[in-house]
Symmetry: D2
Subunit: 291 residues, 4 copies
């Protein structure tokens, strides 16, 4: 009918507007066709070479972080991670060492020539964290903590933004838009598994989110194999899949003695497992790189 | 085998500990068998009578809130809601009037003798909000914003805590535990739908979460019918189901002119719909109450 | 742009077609505005009075079914259920008594004046089952077993069609369309919980599916409280919610001695629990019915 | 307490039994440590080399299948797929050519020296299909059609079993157990994406299901990149990830003219896309194979 057709034309006009809106998303590849390369004090993420972000789940002591730092350094890794502010399901679980933890990370990082990455969970801590961190991480539970995102957008540090536990790709992109719209375009997206009905893994690694995000946005995309799988035996296969599908980097947890770890003891790699992990991955990666 | 049996005995001992841990959750009914009644300046939630929390999605103007307040007052409702700090998916959507919005709520609430409820999203705003709010709401996206929860735990105002979009019952209880463990036990839990594959509703109302939460905890449980369904035509049936299953209250959005609303225009009730909603519900509720 | 607008006009035309297609769904209320009342040998489902379908998960023996039949009869229930062909996750679990089970059901039903309902899982068994059954059930796992649906569509027995474990409302309606398009319009839809990430219940009861289905289709809608919750303690609250939201009936499992049941021992009611369940529900129901 | 400990010891004993039960699953690697190699008339699946199963979504005509067969043959592919019995959401969508479709497949397969794979949906069609098919496929919607599985278990043809839309790994393994327990151990498992809340892809490819299944069972595991992603632009990246993580083969749909296809027109590859897909994949695969 004519009436319906008119209605549809209006609807089409509205969709055009929405499409325009989407085109104006600053994170969109439609807005900026070429890849964003994130520069972490000279270390580049998103330039075609793949980076590794490794370290313990929680910063527990100077000695513990140092032990990890020296082994990852030996494998040529340049980015050290460690949690100081820990978002834990229960208030009675270890909540992290806080600013003291960031200091440890900084000291160890400087000693080994590693750049350091850690999560900040309170908007008021973003500013003071600049003294210690090279990259500020926004965790999965805070992906839609918009006050934290706005504060991160005012920072001059690169932001590593993790996908929320049940966030859509569209919500993830808009979370990044909160940061970039405040002026900070140095953003690394990180797929870390989504919540589904399946229980054989801690979360379900949404591997095709990597090419989808690289197509929709100009930002680099990493994969956190530890939290997506939650299983030590799946870290290596998941990392291979992530590199093969085009991820710009891999994030994983390493601990000198996982059994005594104050958090996530089931899923961190010990030193031997880590060495094997990197050897296998670098062999795989080199072959792939030649194609 | 003997070896296995020993392993299992250790495992059982570990489970005993976990069970004990759970028993010591302050929100658990095992810890406190009788119902918590939340007292909002004389208005009780959880005493067996069902309460309604109604108002616009966003506070837009004094006039708009006043128009809603006068109609809900006429229906005997005692709790007025309105969003001043709005967590929106896109940074380009209306973000709310902020503190100015809280002032409007307070003024209108005082004028009509209504207690007021509004969401706070930044830990630093909890303290200043005490001047304006009778109940502080923690929204679904912030259910695991643990810094905000800790700050809410230090408040002397009742907290209305919404379930996260993809939070388990266990995570929901632990989020409440973050509040109560800081000293504030005046907590209302609110089921507001969970994220599933189904698209005919905005979220899937997990109706049996109400009896599960009332069994596991001693806290009152409300149901937000607006965000769980996202459909104006389902508000009334969902509210009936919620009352029938034992919810301590219903939350829904009302706007004088939903079509021009600055947020959630598809799901707010207009005045006529609201009046019909309450008439039907009060008839249903009275019958039920006599049983 | 003009080009885009033309594209949109074509798109609109395509959507018009789809809309037309939907209008022509035989199960759609757009096609047939008034409620379908399913007639089970004189027992009506969907006429405004609510029906109960009760009985053991599996037919185990004549004596067992008889014990259940006599107690449900005493409560005024007219429809007896019992599984003879059991779709079990493991091939090593009890698979049901098959045709022998249907005979037991028929005998017991006749003796007590109850109509009988049972699931058929193989297309070739639909025809022979006519000798024993008043209603043929298609289970959740077979909701998209299209060969079975087509065969059910050729039957002159009413069909009780359960929603698939992860079926959308749209898929559910189309499954019913497979039956009605073969000529059999005597269909009862049954919501039985959907699969989500939440583990405190066996499935998540999608309670608003009831009003959605009653709006979209002209078919009666029941709620299976046993499989949606999987918990004996939630059967009564779930049933109240289902009646309050407008379900045309309730389905639940009763067993003389659940602990020794050959299937689903955790979720069936024993006789005492059943009597309490019906007393509470009938009190609730009568009050509600007067409104 | 002592009482609790006794309870736990009984529980442990029960778990021991369950564990034993699991150990006795015939598909379990605990039962048979070495890999099962499925032999399709001389073509091996699961021997370390990766196989490709390609062809149109639906068999539409002899000419159409022939066009696809000749191009896949040129790329060295040995397995041709095509749907003759199509499980479609709507009864008004194209339901496939049935037995006539199987004949076309057989003819074309013989002409080009390709083994043929097609889905059977009714238990009674398994037997007659032996005349035409080298591999019988059980589709996602029928993964828990236990009557069909039992019939497949009596066949002497290899079975390609797809994971259900919302099936757990455990349910998937038990579905395979239905087949093997009837005597047919020639089973290929196929991950094809699971249903989640995310809408940017048709389903969510559960990539880590591949190593999980290969660890838990001794069966070969393929990945269907067409149905998991539902997007032509993601087929190649998804296939690379699948090969990298250890899949024994890739399944994808190819059509001479996807725009006019009678089903799944949005996701099938045309000939040029297919040639590019295979060239890229074979380059990637060769590099990988050398490691």
């Amino acid at each position: 009918t004519i009436e319906h057709l008119f209605k549809e034309i209006f609807k089409a006009a509205k969709e055009l507007q929405e499409d325009d809106h989407r085109k104006t998303l600053l994170v969109s590849r439609k807005k900026k066709p070429n890849d964003t390369v994130v520069d972490i004090g000279g270390i580049e993420v998103g330039n075609g070479n793949q980076q590794f972000v490794m370290g313990p789940c929680s910063v527990e002591s100077h000695q513990q972080v140092d032990a990890v730092a020296s082994v990852i350094k030996q494998k040529g890794i340049q980015l050290l991670r460690g949690g100081a502010f820990k978002p834990r399901t229960s208030p009675y679980d270890f909540q992290g060492l806080g600013m003291e933890g960031l200091k440890i990370l900084r000291d160890v990082g400087d000693r080994h020539g590693l750049k350091v990455v850690s999560e900040i969970v309170n908007p008021r801590d973003i500013e003071p964290a600049h003294e210690y961190l090279d990259v500020i991480q926004i965790g999965a539970r805070n992906m839609q903590n918009f006050e934290l995102l706005k504060e991160a957008g005012k920072s001059n540090r690169p932001i590593l933004l993790k996908r929320g536990l049940a966030a859509t790709i569209n919500e993830f992109m808009n979370a990044a838009e909160y940061i970039i719209s405040q002026g900070n375009g140095q953003i690394i997206l990180c797929e870390r598994g989504i919540r589904t009905y399946e229980t054989s893994t801690r979360n379900t690694l949404d591997i095709t989110a990597v090419p989808v995000l690289k197509k929709e946005t100009h930002l680099p995309v990493m994969v956190d194999v530890t939290h997506s799988t939650g299983r030590r035996d799946l870290l290596l296969p998941a990392a291979k899949a992530a590199l093969a599908i085009g991820a710009d980097g891999i994030m994983a947890e390493v601990h000198p003695d996982p059994a005594t770890a104050l958090s996530d003891s089931q899923q961190q790699m010990d030193i031997d497992t880590f060495n094997h992990f990197m050897d296998e991955l670098q062999a795989f990666y080199k072959m792939d790189a030649k194609v």
